[in-house]
Amino acid sequence: MTKQIRQLDRVVIRFAGDSGDGMQLTGDRFTSETAQLGNDISTLPNFPAEIRAPAGTLPGVSSFQVHFADYDILTPGDAPNVLVAMNPAALKANLADLPRGADIIVNTDEFTKRNLAKVGYQTSPLDDDSLAGYVVHPVALTSMTVGALAAHQVSKKDAERSKNMFALGLLSWMYSRPYESTLRFLERKFAARPELVAANVAAFKAGWNFGETTEDFAVRYEVKPAKMKPGTYRNITGNAALSLGLVAAGVRSGLPVFLGAYPITPASDILHELSKHKRFGVLTVQAEDEIAAVGAALGASYGGSLGVTTTSGPGVALKSETISLAVALELPLVIVDVQRAGPSTGMPTKTEQADLNMALYGRHGEAPVAVIAPRSPSDCFFAALEAARIALTYRTPVILLSDNYVANGSEPWLLPDVESLPDLRVEFATKPNGEDGTTFLPYLRDPETLARPWAIPGTAGLEHRIGGLEKADKTGDISYDPANHDFMVRTRAARIETIPVPDIEVEDPDGDARVLVLGWGSTYGPIGAACRGVRQRGLSIAQAHLRHLAPMPANLGEVLRSYDKVVIPEMNLGQLAHVIRARYLVDAISYNQVRGLPFTAAELETTLEEVLKNV
């Protein structure tokens, strides 16, 4: 039959199934195909912390949302146009997010009495009116996959497990995706078991051909490539970009990168990635605990490496004492906090921005550190380089606040030219710096950076002792002198406060906005999309986004005061707003959500319009 082809400018698809159904992989593959086609993309994986929650239950549902368009997009999309529901639990857990008229592709094989009962369906939603507002496509995904693989030398279990590839084939057909990269991927993934390569490829093709032949899918869609800057792109997650940024920091500084880490969700992928890059001289130690991880990193920094530790909120809490030691020792140290919903174990696979207070203040004594936050998955690369730059130049701990949303989300990344990356070379101290020409003063500062010399063990003539006890200015000897302590505390504060950081930029295309939205970290996309929406309605609004949270840009106060109202949306209860109010005496409006999910652009848009009405 001839299929109608319809052009769309954007689509949001959500793949949802049991945590064992391979939905993350399916979403990843669809994303990769979409990237190959040249659409702009943004993704949002959403999965439970349990590796295999009880099959068929609501807590076991895992989903992957991909938003792709023929123009530049900022978020993974608020509401899916298409839901692929591999079982009743996936349907029930996601239905509320679907707008009326959305397509739902359901795997009818899983809609058994038992599976329906598990999630509290009295009758099958496929048989009653409850889905009347949607376009439902019932597909016997499992049995058709098994049927397609009848001639293959695979077990029934392996055949059933290939159903995600059937679904991927069908969706790839529906949206006219190029699938060569998926076939190559399957060959790599199952290289050791050729029969599984054949089975998965056959399942994929069966899904594609099903779309081609069945009358249920009368329309096929196309989303043309987006106009993007020329260059070579890859699709990248925040954690991968952050890892590459750390490798790049090693290359550009000429120093070995040392990662001390303890496994924790959602930061472990950085440890996995960096452990693969030994040929760059990257040394990784999986420590016995979070404290040892940061301790080892600090020990390596003392020895002349770029010491890094990666973790999430609970790990930062444990590292706090060692970070304070690093403040006292004035050594470079990068602490990556991939934030997750807290307190305590909280919701380990869900996102939140609630560690800002901890990053800024969570230490004993006056222990200031630099804090920066990436705004998007690919920005994690540049944020890692910036964290390394500050740590190395100013000999200070730097906390990099990523979060689960940017860490696991992905977007196309225009690959940078290596030579254009910042030069991070540092000079170790090599000779005495005292006026007499023979004395070494470990706390004699560079007048410009206020950094002390980095004299690493092995350097003859510079033997010296450092420690957590208060040190006398210049000599570094133990000192209990009141005036010296006051001086050192103020100097450590000034060291951070005077680090030059770029001015904050304001995006106000109309030029007459009276309301400014200020954000930080991963909310950049949703805030940006909301501002676009507001402007499309003919209203003016300005957006500014903080990358440096400590120190803050020098022009921030002036920017804030030039607007009638400042709105600060955060995935916490107003931590940045609190700082802004205290520092700049600006009566900022705090808008907060802590649902473990990123803001949707629509809800932010509504909030901003409310504010605009009252200006």
């Binding site: 040394l283 420590a287 040892a292």
Partner: protein
Amino acid sequence: MSEPVAVKLTAKDFKSDQEVRWCPGCGDYAILAAIQQFMPELNIPRERTVFVSGIGCSSRFPYYMNTYGMHSIHGRAPAIATGLSVSRPDLSVWVVTGDGDALSIGGNHLIHALRRNVNLKILLFNNRIYGLTKGQYSPTSEVGKITKSTPAGSADAPFNPLSLALGAEASFVGRTIDSDRKHLQSVLRAAAEHEGSAFVEIYQNCNIFNDGAFDQLKDPSTRDDYLIRLEHGQPITFGADGQFCVVHPPGGFGLEVRDTSSVRPEEIVVHDATVTDPAYAFALSRLPGLDLRNTPIGVFRSVDRPSYDSVVQAQLAAAKATVTETPEQQLAGLLGSGDTWTII
């Protein structure tokens, strides 16, 4: 980093310009002097030597050594030293710690450093008391110890530091005493020569809060009958007249002390620190009674096992050996790996 040069150093070269601030009469003075005197014979340049410590009286040690040094935070010295040692295999890294620092707040780091066999020389000054916080019982204090925090006597059973180290897979375990400079230096010498973690417990007197804790091992009238001086390859006999010996009783699991006159000479255990099975050294570590009778000193165990540092550095070297490009070229290749697409 310069190559080691054959400069003859003396004890004086290892003294820093800092005033030593331990209490007068503290056992730490004797240990410091013994180590400063011993360091030159290692022929390691001062700049290649690093002392890392935690918190406590003993942890002030690095300030007094004219080498590189870091006085860090409570219990974490083995972790910090691990990062330094594994990333800088050219250094000689020493950890100075105490019974509270190593066995209480830092217990986890200690056992994992030993398990990994990190190339660290760990000196545990054991005075069986918290000194710097003014006299609370420690994890090596005897049961029933009356201290400021345990007026009715402590209820917890102590660790045996050597048994703990052996249980943590330590490849080198020794014990010595602050007041016996010659013995202390002999054990440190063996520790310094060992590749991997070397754990040395040093009995140290706190004359302020736990004075005389090890007197039976020091008093000329008792020490010969209390101390077992382990010598590799020698039958284990002790006592002023060699009247006691160590045997492996048939049917038993451990070692026992007997009158030498009551056993045949071939029944006396010949000390072998290189026995692979840690059960032997463990049995030695269990000989002392609560009254310190039958306390072995010397090297209990010294076995060959690849150090963590050497394994990690070998992996790095193997990976780097495959590299033919400049770091920048490598990086460009890494950034552009995986599925990419080009927009013209």
